[in-house]
Symmetry: C2
Subunit: 139 residues, 2 copies
């Protein structure tokens, strides 16, 4: 049988994620936790993130950028990825569950759920681009 034992590393990973509004990658988690526990290893971060996902305490978010992101909110919701900085954030809107009905009508298999990903440019990147263009046009 497998009981769960306390680990300060795991605790701090949970805390760190909970304190973010975006959804960092394992490496970003690692870089940050290292401030507090300089000896933590990347393997431990990966192991704990996977454990937390399978415990249902956090959610793994894949968005096609080749890296997994982690979200402390396990409720079903939509995400946004910025094509400039790659940051992944929540989109605070209702999920369109009626889409699953439409899909089921037109698809020959059972639909169990869906995800949606919006992409574009986030606010801070939009601002940076505007400033960068202005400064860049110094001829």
């Amino acid at each position: 049988m497998k009981t769960l034992k306390y680990s300060r590393q795991r605790e701090s990973i949970k805390e760190f994620l909970a304190g973010r509004k975006d959804h960092p990658t394992a490496d970003v988690v690692y870089m940050n936790i290292r401030q507090l526990y300089p000896n933590i290893s990347l393997g431990t971060v990966y192991r704990n993130l996977s454990l937390l996902v399978s415990l249902g305490e956090i959610q793994r978010v894949s968005c096609g950028d080749g890296v997994e992101h982690f979200d402390p909110n396990t409720a079903s919701h939509y995400h946004f990825i910025c094509r400039e900085c790659g940051k992944v954030q929540d989109v605070p809107m209702e999920t369109a569950d009626h889409l699953e009905k439409s899909a089921a009508e037109r698809f020959d298999g059972s639909i169990e759920g869906h995800t949606a990903l919006f992409y574009g440019v986030c606010r801070s990147c939009r601002e940076k681009i505007q400033k960068g263009l202005d400064k860049g046009k110094v001829m």
Copy 2:
């Protein structure tokens, strides 16, 4: 300047993809093209797939299974991934573009597009499960 030269390998990759209703991975493309051109290398397959994507002739589809899939249909549409066999297919329904308006109202950044991914069990896996047969992963 970079002109494009003919290559039978690239042609056969395009043909192979066009003849599939599902969206294979680079490795599956490789395995299949190898029947025709036994000396083709995986690197060439990857290079051509990337080239075709950047030419806008095919589409790259990421669906969180850790491998990229390739779709000969470049129009915006939704996908389905089977949690049993991993096969990725199209869902022939209209895209819900009004979602982008909703998202834009609630999100502080510019929304340029969206994708949706449905998941569940495809027909052939459902049948196999009912029969109790073994199932292999087809990516």
